[in-house]
Symmetry: C2
Subunit: 311 residues, 2 copies
Amino acid sequence: MNANLKYAIIGSGAVGSYYGGKLAQSGGCDVHFLMRSDLDFVQKLGLTIRSKDGEVHLPRVNAARTTEEIGPCDVVLIALKTTANAVLPNLIPPLLKPDTLLITLQNGLGNEEFLAQHFGAERVLGGLCFVCLNRVGHGVIEHYGHGTLSIGEFGRPPQERTRRIVSDFQRSGIEASAVENLIIERWRKLVWNIPFNGLGIAARATVADVLQSDELHLSAKNLMRETIEAAGALGHAIPMDFIEFQIARSWPMGPYRSSSQIDFEAGREVEVEAIWGEPYRHAVRAGANAPRLELLYALIKRLAAMRCEAL
Amino acid sequence: MNANLKYAIIGSGAVGSYYGGKLAQSGGCDVHFLMRSDLDFVQKLGLTIRSKDGEVHLPRVNAARTTEEIGPCDVVLIALKTTANAVLPNLIPPLLKPDTLLITLQNGLGNEEFLAQHFGAERVLGGLCFVCLNRVGHGVIEHYGHGTLSIGEFGRPPQERTRRIVSDFQRSGIEASAVENLIIERWRKLVWNIPFNGLGIAARATVADVLQSDELHLSAKNLMRETIEAAGALGHAIPMDFIEFQIARSWPMGPYRSSSQIDFEAGREVEVEAIWGEPYRHAVRAGANAPRLELLYALIKRLAAMRCEAL
């Protein structure tokens, strides 16, 4: 690898634009964005990240319409919605060198497996973002809070290459870290996403709405418990006091709507299988009891399918 | 009691109009309807029950705007929505003689208790309707299928008075019966209402939609199981094969929407506490495990409250 790593950012929604934008801003690496609908705007007006700590404007970013224009990279950050994964086998090859790393920043379960199947397991990493972001316009991202990034390798502990990428993020001001066990981190993230993204859709409830309703709050905690029990049945031990930790870190989010809820309410596709379907099936296979997850998955699958039909 | 019983029908939605209309049609009793918005229409055009077996038109029915106009009765059939129960203490007294019977045909739990508290337990009966009806216009009821009526007494086995009322319904062509244990019948009805009315709202799903979706079908059956377990924990034994019986009798309903779903979709109040809240609280108090009911209640309470706010 070169002194300055070359990154491609695939998927210019909130997550790709935020983490790619931070990397680009720090100057220590060469960042290229693949863009479609935002390309003309971003080429003209740059990328903007609005945060409660202030606004970051990047007047010039490298944005391309095809991965051929970007060419081979050291690191590919994948921030597409999981429902679009089928495009990756065509999209990624022009970015690949023998040692190119693929980091999926996507939600839920099954994404590392998908990349490993198509491009080989040895180059696959996963990143867990715990961040409150929304894309509010072409090339404009609103950052509401949090922003940690945990990067791990698929099926092995972190290597030197992971630590190097983590340093790039740290230098850009992201609270990044390398994690020993990627899959347990995926389950830890699901402990939040399953209830909050799920109740966001099924109850049309913001984070604050869930926390402030006695009944939804109880169900959110019990969905967290079921998720932890499923992870435990699969050999990934998460302590039960993680529930209170997650509740505590949710209060400051206020009326935040998860990206799933925003997608749903805008009539866009929802990551039903990655966030609820796969975890539910894993729980069942492991013999865990997940009755609320069963019902929530059934509801969200139905509601998401209706929403798409209506368009 | 006289040779011909005098009935007052309180609540002229689908259930009140259907069962009251059938009684009026049979001619063996004196039936009076309390009406508000439908009064002028029904006084002019009568009452119509459309059924797959044909249409019944009652050109003249006794309809009044106040219970004072109706005066003392032998039997009061209460078919108001449970969310309107607060009006009953003012509405009912003009209908009462010392031996007037009050039969609540309302959904869910808590209605007999409410009537007993206000008018004395000894005159309280309950009726369970298993029928697919919708009110489709002023004084016009569509009957899609089923139509049984099970009548029991509050806290005691059926007396002669109950058998007499059952005969009146039977003579009018209703498949009516007296039940030994009213409360167990209430729980048996909840075995259907909790999942189908609930998923109707939470998943915007008709009966056919629930049955045809693998995931919703599974959750519906498991909600039935939880309801049966809650009833069992309270001492009301319902055999588990009742689930398959309820599923089998649901298939012919096709794209039927429960009254709760229709109310919800029309922005009207939903009987959240009678159908989900009270059964959930009973289950919890009895130590039964009801995780899906917990989540469904939380969702419906939230969705119903939002719907009312939006008006």
